[in-house]
Structure formats: C-alpha cells, structure tokens
Symmetry: C2
Subunit: 362 residues, 2 copies
Amino acid sequence: MRRYDLALIGFGGVNRALAALIVERGEQLFEELGFALRVVAITDLRAGSLVDADGVDLAPLLATTPDELAFADMKGGSRDPRNEWVIREVQADIVAEATFTNPADGEPAVSHVRWALEAGKHVCTTNKGPVALHGRELRELAAQHGVSFEFEGAVLSGTPVLRTARRLLSGLRITGVEGIMNGTSNFVLGRLEDGADFEAAVSEAQDLGYAEADPTADVEGHDVQLKVMILANEVLGADLRREDVVCRGISGITTVDIKDAADKGLRWKLVGSVTRRADGGVDARVEPVALSADHPLVGVSGPVNAVAFRTDLLGTVTISGPGAGPIETAYALLSDIIAIHHAQANGAAASSGHVLEETVHG
Amino acid sequence: MRRYDLALIGFGGVNRALAALIVERGEQLFEELGFALRVVAITDLRAGSLVDADGVDLAPLLATTPDELAFADMKGGSRDPRNEWVIREVQADIVAEATFTNPADGEPAVSHVRWALEAGKHVCTTNKGPVALHGRELRELAAQHGVSFEFEGAVLSGTPVLRTARRLLSGLRITGVEGIMNGTSNFVLGRLEDGADFEAAVSEAQDLGYAEADPTADVEGHDVQLKVMILANEVLGADLRREDVVCRGISGITTVDIKDAADKGLRWKLVGSVTRRADGGVDARVEPVALSADHPLVGVSGPVNAVAFRTDLLGTVTISGPGAGPIETAYALLSDIIAIHHAQANGAAASSGHVLEETVHG
C-alpha cells in the first residue's frame, strides 16, 4: 500500500476542510483509492507552524476555532509560519498549497509552489496566481524534478473543469471556451434583475459571505481574468500574459441596462471567453455579455458556475457545478492528490513493477 | 510506438464516421495520443464483410454511399457479414461494436460483445443493450480475459458522462443522478410548448431525422430506461433489471398539461433519475417531470442532453452536450480506444517497462 505524507500550507477554510476529510473518511478513501494520507506539517499565517514526522493529530486542531488556534504551545510548534523551511526541509511527499494569491504577481502562492517543486515535492494548489501567471515556468520546474503540479481548484473549485478538458476531451480540437466563473458577479447581476441597485447588491453579497471586504477582484473581472488565462494557457496551449486579456467587469451595468436586456429576452452575465483564431493564436477576454434565452450558459446563476468547451467533433460540452466553497475546494485538492497517485503508480510501475506492494516511505 | 488493429462491427453512420476520423486525422492522433489505428476487418448487415490483415483501404469505402457498398466484389470480401467468425477469428486488438440493440435482450450487440471478450479482444460499443442488460456478466468476462470493455457512447454519445462519474468524481459519494437523455422527447416537448399537437410533433421529429420510423422507444421512455440502468449499475453500483425501473413516457402529456405548467412557470421534461436510498439500495425511474425555472436541467432542450450528479462534497455537477449523432458517437468510440490505450500502456508497463518502444503486434 501507499501512504502520502502531506504538508498543508495555509490552514484556513480549505485546508481545514481537507484535514476534516482525512479525519472523517481516511479509511474509506484508503479502501476506495488504495492510498492513505497523513499530515506531517501545517503552516498558517495566524496559527504558526506545526511539524510532526509521526503525523499531526488533526482532530484537536479541528476542534479549535481558527481564531484560537496557536501552534506555538504545541510539541513541534512555532509562532512563525516558517513556510520556506517547512516546504523545503520537512519530509513530505505532497505540498497542499491553499494560502492566497496577489493578482499582480501571484505571491505568496507562487513562491510556495516554486519552493516545493524545487525540493522535489508534488504540489497541489487551489490558487489561480501560480498557474495563471507562472504556469509554464512551474510546469517546467515540475517536469525537471519529476514531480506533479496539479491545480484543479484554480477554476471552479472541485468541479472537474480542467481535468475534463485535459483528460476526457483528448483526440478532439477545443476551438473555444466560454465560462461564467464568478459567483459574486452572478449574485450581484441576479439582484440587479430583482430590482436592487448595484451598491446594495454588493453589500448584500458581502453580508452573505459571497464577496470579499474588497469586492474589486470579483466585480471588476480580475478573478475571471486569471481563470481565463488558465483556460487559454493550460487547455488551449497559449502563452498569454495578464495584459493580453481584455477585462471589463460588471460595475458599469446599470438597472436600465438590465431592464433593456430583459425587454429583449436577454440576461447579463459576466463571461470569460477564449477563442482560437484562424491563424492559430488565441483571443481571451472578460466582459459582461447579454445572453439570449437559448444560450447554454444563460441559466447559470448564483453560486453555480459553468464552463462550456466548443469542440470540433462534439459541438459544445458544458460542465457546471460549484464555483467556490471550502469543502468544494478541499475536494479539488483531494482530486489532485488522486491524480498524483495515479501518475505515481504508473510511473513507479514502469520502473519497478511493484506498484501495489510498494510504500512511498521505505 | 503502438498500433491497434480494429474490427468494425456494423458500418452505418457511427463506424463510417470513425473510419473517416482515422483517415482524416490518423497522423494527428498518433502524434497527440501516441498510437496508430488500422482497420483490419469490417462487417455490416447490408454490405457484407471485408477482411484485410494488411489494413483495409478506407477511403474508397467512404467514397461509396452506404446503399451501393458491397464487400462481396472486393478482395477479402463476402456477402455474408460473418460477424461471429470475424469477431472471434480475425487478428484484431479492438472490436468497435456499433450495430443495434433490441431493448428486450440487447441482441445482436450482446453476442458481438460476448464473442469479442471471449476471444480476448478489447471491446468498445455504442450500444446500450449490452451494458444495461448484461453489464455485470460482460465486465466479469472482460476481467477474466484481461481485456477492456468500454461503452462511453451508450449514454449521451461522446459527451463524457460515464467517464466523468467513474474517473473525475472519485473520492466523493454520488447520491443521485438526474438526466435529460433523449433528444426526440426533448424536441417533441419543445414543439408542444410551441403549440403543436403530439402526433404532428412526432412526425416533424421523424421528418427531421431525430426520431426513428417507430418512435416508441424514444417517446415511451424505453431508451432512457436503459440509460438509467447503466447509470444505476455502472455508476452507483446497483444491479437493477429492466423491470426494476419504473418507466413512463411523454405520450400522455397533453397540450393542456403543457399550458398548465407554463402558467406556473414550469416546463415538462422526460427525466431519468437514480436515487440512493437510506438503506443503501437504489431507486430508478423514467417519467415526465414539470421542472421549475431554477432547476439545473430546465434549460436542456433539443439535441442537447444533460446529466446531473448529486454528490456529497461538490453538490450538483452537471455535464451537458450532444445526446446523439454519428460523429459525436464515433468520438465516443475514439475516447474508448484512448481509455483502452491508457489501461494497456499502464498494464504493459508493469510487466515489461517498455511501453513506449513496444508495438502491439510484434
């Protein structure tokens, strides 16, 4: 049997949900998937860091509220997150990165991913920044060190959008992608349709926990812009930078625009799209679009997000599901770990022929 | 490099489209996917059979209309389809089965699949019957002979519904499935909403080539019933027989029903559903359901089909795409062949460690 030792970077909602999954269904996962998971290190900006080579006891940590959690008092603990040291030096097979990302340069997530790959560790991340802004460099780094770099959660949390495109649509040509990929904008546009004004709709989204204290990234399209870059670069093989993606958000949409659209049977949505040009290049943009009633994405609203792939042989294939949420995003990390396991099992098989009997740690 | 030799059973729209794909993009497939495809035998009820161990020259066959195609006059040809002999005796790696299926016992497709698996050949089929009615037996037969049995095309043509459920949703619990899986019923219900009466809508569907000469299987729900059995048995691990699945079609829906629903903001759809009961068992049914405007499947109409998976960690994940069509279904066969290739590469790797250099035929 195999066991993977994990280092959790960031211990907010997502990695707490992953830890809870490991506690609650570790054995079931082992039976179903053929591997066990153990957490050997956790780092967190607020709680500090905790390292235990014999496996961190997760249940007490999950029983403590995030505000009260302090690793400094525990054996193997420190007040300092010690991210670089933990990522580089702690013996772990997989680094599960779920901190945050600056839309300008992707930090600190980019450095976390880079350190882990340089140290020969597999990485799964839920952050868009590393993939959107440094995808090619990090992919090459992973290849160079013979490890996996997985990031299903960067687009639509655990809804398997990237993996569908890369695994289940092989053999056909994806000519374009169109998606509704931001729940806050969806919510705000829905409230505008109900008659609310923009400011009120945004505060309501904040009160409900959909929107951040600073809603700019959501309503101005920057969040979708990074997702569009990931789809363009990772699915259509482009090499776009942020400035290559036209980006207009929904803050300019007025109640008059909404009413005019409704009169014509149209509904405004914030749409991210990628289109393969005739010359082989790729155009990508984020902008509000008034969709007709028969458009495949017109019914996508609220917390549901969707991505439609236009293909040559299958026409349009659309995947919809949750766009966010701690458990949904923790599942993205689990699906990444499953992908790492498969790659590992197949790779190890080629060299040793003893996949099933082999353990990761001697 | 690998090459797979194929026997095409049935040379109607689907296997002709597969042959055209091999002719038109064989080299591209080889570069992208790492394997080559060659057709060494074709059988067809009307055209007879054709066997060429050096590879059938497909282009002239595709240039001939189905009505005029007669293998008897060609080298290696016969007027007789010789299905059993071709399937059992011809040296082929993969049998691509695309004939037809009787909803009562699944024949003749079931025998084709059984013969191929017994002969140690991988099978991909687009027919629902073998999977819905004899799935367990055929899966066991495949395992016993160390070969693959693939059938993505049995549900929603090439739209990757089954493979998403089995590969991309692992690690979570699928608690139910709900789908709109019959384009003819979709079309007819749409025309009823436009004010047409039932008989007229069905003839229109026939004129447009959506519905068969005998539309019973489509409008009475029998087609969806088999798809529901496949979802229940292959995705939720049930062992349902046909009589376990309640089945009501759309022929009882009147224009009054349609109008009453519209007044309440509802739309009738023919829905196939599978639900995991609290006791672990599975309920499955096919029936017209009046869906509310915010139901995830309410916008699914015409030739688009969709399947929604209810899961514990991700909520509802929905995949929509084409439900039928020769090219779309041929892509299902290609996606099955890709799956066979991966299983083969990984399996062969474990025993030999020379995946990339190995050819299937020495």
